[in-house]
């Protein structure tokens, strides 16, 4: 046979062999069920991205230790594949495309931070792949008609509404006056605007309990907060509420302390228990109240189990909520795949819609994805207060409280 007389199907055969080899190398040919995530493992969210990877990995290891998930009568292991999106929202979606198209991921887990998750959700919605979000709480992530994006993190509004619920509970215990004069400032971002909405939603129905005496936004990464704090001082409120990301929180609370302000209660949304905060402000963060999506002292069996496993595997006390919600989100996704008994995206999606974990480590002890809130969980948060000697104490809800809150004068 001369070169010119080679059959024309030779190149096609070569291509098919190449694709087969590639599939085999990428693991697409085995019986592993692959799920994936694009996480910020470097760049500005690197520290949080690491927490998410650890939480996801722990849930996958637990599932595999229990024999994996049963698909069509056969137990199959789960593999987690993670890529680093470098905290860059322009890279993240293409990594998700790669997870689906090349790695054969049957479902996806989210990255961290609202802007990154907002960029990510376009891919699962277009591709029709289940996407479990534990890294962005903003309602803007869950669009009208959403069928593929599931939220394991309660909305930002819950941070505000739970904080006000706690204040009302304290009023009912006669520990706080009625009406309570509230000064609220919020960062001019999706996060801050939703926090404000949460406060307004509660206050508008409780005019006998609350009087909003200041409602003002500030810009993210402001160079100074002193004039804002002087304004807070001038309105003579009982309670000071703020929603700020960490750099603004550090600067704002510094100005608060420098100006010698004091309120019955001070809260910066979810800010307060982080180790970095105490490193930067020391004792000045004692008695700050914060709303959390999870805290290690929650008296649930699943929460204790997570803390033991996490600390045994990764060391050190788990002080942040990130790995816990990541673990729970991955656990929910794996449970749904098992319930579906199939790796077909529509079947997993339907299983997620019907999922209800009654042993959740999240506040309320229940994880579900209601259609009426566009598949985002709507649990109450947990209110904790920083203790002078370090650590936090749960002060609300009453069934989880470790003791009464310290209230200023």
């Amino acid at each position: 046979m001369t070169p010119d007389s080679r059959p024309r199907w030779f190149p096609v055969l070569g291509l098919l062999l190449g694709v087969g080899l590639f599939q085999a190398c990428s693991g697409g040919g085995d019986d592993t069920i692959r799920i994936g995530a694009a996480l910020p493992l470097s760049g500005k969210h690197a520290n949080v991205g690491g927490f998410f990877r650890d939480g996801y990995q722990l849930a996958v290891e637990e599932a595999n230790a229990a024999g994996g998930v049963e698909i069509d009568g056969v137990r199959r292991p789960i593999e987690l594949r993670v890529y680093d999106d470098k905290s860059d929202a322009s890279i993240s979606p293409s990594l998700l495309e790669r997870l689906i198209a090349v790695d054969g991921a049957v479902a996806l887990l989210s990255g961290y931070s609202t802007p990154l998750v907002q960029a990510q959700v376009i891919v699962p919605m277009r591709r029709g792949i289940p996407f479990m979000n534990a890294g962005g709480a903003s309602k803007s992530i869950f669009r009208e008609g959403n069928q593929w994006v599931f939220g394991a993190l309660s909305p930002v509004e819950s941070l505000a509404s739970t904080t006000l619920e706690w204040l009302m509970w304290e009023q009912d215990q006669d520990r706080l006056p009625k009406p309570l004069r509230v000064a609220m400032v919020w960062q001019n971002t999706d996060h801050g605007r939703e926090y404000r909405t949460g406060v307004h939603d509660v206050i508008e129905g409780q005019t006998d309990r609350f009087e909003l005496v200041l409602d003002e936004s500030f810009e993210h990464l402001s160079s100074d907060h002193t004039s804002l704090i002087v304004k807070v001082r001038s309105v003579e409120a009982d309670v000071f509420l703020s929603d700020a990301h960490e750099p603004d929180f550090l600067l704002q609370h510094r100005a608060y302390v420098e100006q010698g302000l004091g309120h019955i209660a001070v809260s910066y949304g979810a800010r307060g228990p982080e180790r970095s905060v105490r490193e930067g402000l020391g004792e000045a963060v004692s008695h700050l109240v914060s709303a959390q999506w999870w805290t290690r002292a929650l008296p649930y069996e699943r929460s204790r189990h997570f803390v033991e496993r996490y600390e045994a595997q990764f060391g050190g006390p788990v002080t942040e909520y990130y790995p816990a919600v990541a673990y729970e989100a991955a656990r929910a996704l794996i449970t749904a795949i098992g319930n579906a008994g199939s790796t077909a995206p529509e079947t997993i999606r339907d299983a997620l819609k019907n999922l209800e974990l009654d042993d959740s480590l999240l506040p309320g002890g229940r994880l579900y994805f209601p259609e009426e809130s566009r598949l985002q969980i709507e649990n109450r948060c947990v209110i904790v207060q920083n203790q002078p000697e370090g650590g936090v104490r749960i002060v609300f809800p009453p069934d989880a409280a470790e003791g009464p809150a310290y209230l200023g004068s």
């Binding site: 910020p40 470097s42 760049g43 500005k44 969210h45 690197a46 520290n47 905290s87 400032v185 001019n188 003002e216 936004s217 500030f218 810009e219 990464l221 402001s222 160079s223 100074d224 002193t226 004039s227 804002l228 002087v230 304004k231 001082r233 001038s234 960490e246 750099p247 550090l250 600067l251 510094r254 100005a255 302390v257 420098e258 100006q259 010698g260 970095s276 490193e279 930067g280 402000l281 020391g282 000045a284």
Partner: protein, 283 residues
Amino acid sequence: MVDLLSVLASGILVGTVYAYMAYGLGLIYGVLRVVNLAHGAFLTLGVYVTWWLNTTFGMDPLVSILITVPLGFALGATVERTLVFRLRDSPPVTTLLLLFGVWLIVRNALYLIFGGADRSLLTSYSLESLAVGPLTLSIPRLIVSAFSLLGFVVLALMLKRTWSGLALRAVAQDREAAALSGVPVNRVWAVAFGIGSALAMSAGSLMSLFYSVTPEFGARFLLKSFCVVVLGGLTNIGGILVAGIGLGIAEDLTAFYIHTGYRDVVSFLVLTAALVMRRADAD
């Protein structure tokens, strides 16, 4: 009245910080006619070196200035000698891009080494304040203001009373005439870039007293520095001090009496107005 005085005092304190971080930018532009986009890199390096010295050796941020100033000078002079000098006859945009590249390299190197987490310094006086009549003034901000004024005096004396200062002013006014008069222009350029970078790094050291440390630190303040330099007169150190204080007061008054959200709008409005007026003057 107390509120107004508090806001004015805060504006002055913030304004002196703005001025301190802008001195170096103004000096480099004045002598080299180069817009130093790497200024943000030197500010960021200043906060990181200070944070590292504090967390590793327990060194006070004020003491760390003794290290960041010579380090900043050496790094700045090296950047000028090895990079900027080679492009001195190129179009301004080339140098602009080059220095932007330097900034990106420094920023990404810091991400690689330290990660992206916000870090803070806590000293015994970090949260202390001083009561002056009805006013409460932050001790760290008072310290930075004192350094800013000291920096202005030292810089002004150096420019007016020393041979190096005379050489810097000569090159700033007319490079060719200065060269014909025997001024070593190349060395003066390196010295100017070194001093400007040293000022930026020392500003970073002082700002670490109240701002959190991240690789994005420089980005947060670079535009503000530009506003102050443009407003103050590009090459006029005294003008930069006045512009910084003026901007600080304007921002704080706007934040208090109009809306906190408009605080940063003031910088952009002032920058736009200053550029338009300068253009009108030029015409």
